[in-house]
């Protein structure tokens, strides 16, 4: 139980003042921390100790504004999950802990021109089984294609473009991906042999844990205008993909934690937690990490791109119609574990910053140059995955999110450990329960069904309502699952 100060400074806003000295009494926060939450969420947030981590992040050299945490905050490694920290692009540091092991874990939404009436339960079952067959999932899942070294280097440097150029997807897809599916700073020579070895057989695989692929129905529209611009309407069938950079990204993070751990000593940085390891952004270590991190981000975009290709193929196989004819366009693709160089206004002044989002999503509002032309009027689509069997959300970015460096939440956030969940439920029972609610699930295993049971998470709608109320992102549509492929 965390008993530090959480002062309400506005609607849905709780601040840990800079004067807080931490549980050991010697913490030196450079800026305050701010947690977005509702009153009802506070007991759960305190129980988890995550606020202490938000305070720890506030000690990073060069941090500007505030150390932020979204309403889906929970305890992470070093940084809390749901944490956002921006550091000065000249004087600040970059930290792999502020990105996480699953670099560019993210979400992609594909729309169709099918309506719920076009698919009966049997068709949905066939689609799920076909998706499960075509998109490898689960522990140690290996993709259908194995790349050679030269191809992998191209993936690391080109991201989703590599996939499109090699026949996986459509040229127009790239326009609807954050960063157009490629961080240009990527340089594969900063990626270890091991990370490359792990990457070769995993481009185009879903992985395990909380990653999933869902066939969803648009259940509710909150914002007709934005929904129309995003090409989404009530009762439409859409597909959501939630996965990241797989073993390649995990290895890159592990490799650089090791490097930056040494850099902490070299640059004489004092940290309250070893997992916050970081280096000045202009140092050799910091620059190397950023170039390698970008490679992992590109890997993840290529991964989701190849999965989209196989999703389209699966629909074509089962329904006997072309993906073009089915209108399977990408609505958008967001990353929720990433660090990026962005321009933001701090205390009325334009600044170039390294924005770390660990379990947080970019939420840029209307007019930002980084978002697709088509979405300029309403802001970028923000995709919030639910957890197996629960609803997911399509939101839109706002200019108010600027107070959080253009960020919002990323999902539900766990309230129960995986083992607890496994003890409490049995996977088959959950599958039956989902079936009763009209959801067909095809998991790689039954135990993962129990671990990822919806009741093990905070209510995603509560999280989304807080970000809506706080103005960080606004609700556009709610989707509910019809069929689930679990890793």
């Amino acid at each position: 139980m965390w008993s530090g100060p959480l002062n309400k400074i506005g609607e849905y806003r709780y601040e840990i003042p800079k004067t807080y000295r931490g549980i050991n009494g010697n913490l030196k926060m450079r800026v305050p921390a701010l947690i977005y939450a509702s009153e009802e969420m506070l007991p759960a947030i305190r129980k988890d100790n995550a606020p202490e981590q938000a305070a720890n992040v506030a000690t990073l050299p060069g941090i500007v504004g505030r150390s932020l945490a979204m309403p889906d905050i929970h305890w992470g490694y070093g940084f809390p999950i749901g944490g956002v920290a921006a550091t000065d692009a000249e004087e600040g540091v970059i930290s792999p802990g502020g990105v996480g092991f699953d670099i560019n874990c993210g979400v992609r939404l594909v729309r169709t021109n099918l309506k719920i009436g076009d698919l009966d339960r049997n068709k949905i079952r066939q689609l799920v089984d076909e998706l499960f067959k075509n998109i490898p999932s689960g522990v140690g899942s290996q993709a259908k294609v194995r790349l050679n070294r030269a191809q992998l280097d191209d993936v690391l440097q080109m991201g989703a473009r590599w996939a499109v150029e090699n026949g996986y997807g459509w040229e127009e897809d790239l326009e609807y991906l954050e960063e157009n599916g490629c961080m240009e700073i990527a340089d594969a020579s900063y990626v270890s042999e091991k990370a490359k070895e792990r990457g070769k057989s995993q481009v185009g695989s879903l992985g395990a844990g909380n990653h999933f692929l869902e066939i969803q129905r648009v259940a509710e529209i909150f914002d007709e205008n934005a929904a129309k611009i995003y090409g989404v309407e009530k009762d439409q069938i859409v597909v959501m993909i939630h996965t990241g950079s797989r073993g390649c990204g995990h290895q890159i993070c592990s490799d650089y934690l090791r490097v930056l751990e040494q850099a902490v000593r070299k640059y004489n940085i004092s940290l309250p937690d070893r997992q916050l390891a970081c280096a000045p952004v202009k140092s050799k270590e910091g620059e190397s990490y950023f170039k390698a991190m970008a490679c992992a981000a590109n890997f993840a975009w290529a991964n989701r791109q190849m999965i989209v290709h196989w999703v389209r193929q699966s629909f074509e196989n089962v329904l006997g119609r072309d993906a073009e004819e089915l209108g399977m366009h990408i609505v958008y693709d967001v990353c929720h574990n990433i660090a990026k160089v962005e321009e933001h206004v701090v205390d009325g002044e334009k600044m170039l910053l390294y924005v770390h989002r660990k379990g947080a999503t970019r939420s840029f509002g209307p007019g930002r140059k980084e978002i697709p032309k088509k979405y300029q009027q309403v802001g970028q689509p923000v995709l919030i995955p639910g957890d197996m069997g629960t609803e997911s959300y399509l939101l839109r970015g706002t200019n108010e999110s600027e107070e959080a460096f253009g960020s919002t939440c990323h999902g539900a956030g766990r309230v129960m450990s995986r083992h607890q969940a496994k003890r409490r439920w049995n996977g088959r029972e959950i599958a039956r329960m989902l079936e009763q609610r009209g959801i067909y699930a095809h998991p790689a295993s039954w135990s993962v069904m129990a671990e990822e049971s919806p009741d093990a998470y905070k209510d995603v709608s509560q999280v989304v309502n807080v970000t809506h109320g706080a103005g960080l992102s606004l609700k556009v549509a709610k989707m509910v699952p019809l069929g689930v492929v679990k890793g």
Partner: protein, 135 residues
């Protein structure tokens, strides 16, 4: 001897051994028990692992477990028995077999080994290690 420890979003191992070497072996056993849900792993293949030791035991531990995860990920192997010697470097042997979903069930996908709340403690009974994994 090891036991699995957990927090809301994490899982980890508390491993005990009479020596540092034995504690390293137990930690590795625990890690694969999480991956395979505690199922039996036969020692059909052997892998040798060498890691330089620059006096930081915590880093050595993370390197050791990460190396095993790497082999697991690339070769699709799971390990059940270990033999570790630590002098000026760590030399370890891991005994295991191909991961088989039917046989080994399905525990969890461990993404990486973390430094978070990492502990290596010594007392009269030996060495106790606490390590958390990102899942």
């Amino acid at each position: 001897m090891y036991k699995i420890i957990e927090h809301t979003a994490d899982v980890g191992i508390e491993a005990h051994g009479k020596t540092l070497e034995e504690a390293f072996e137990e930690a590795a056993k625990g890690m694969f028990a999480i991956i395979t849900d505690g199922s039996k792993i036969e020692g059909k293949v052997k892998r040798k692992i060498e890691i330089p030791f620059d006096r930081d035991e915590e880093i050595l531990l993370v390197d050791w477990l990460n190396e095993l995860l790497y082999i697991h990920d690339v070769e699709g192997l799971v390990f059940g028995e270990f033999d570790v010697k630590i002098n000026d470097k760590l030399v370890g042997y891991a005994y295991g077999e191909k991961y088989d979903r039917q046989k080994h069930g399905y525990g969890m996908d461990i993404k990486a080994v973390t430094y978070h709340m990492l502990e290596i403690k010594r007392n009269k009974k030996g060495v106790t290690i606490k390590v958390l994994f990102d899942i």
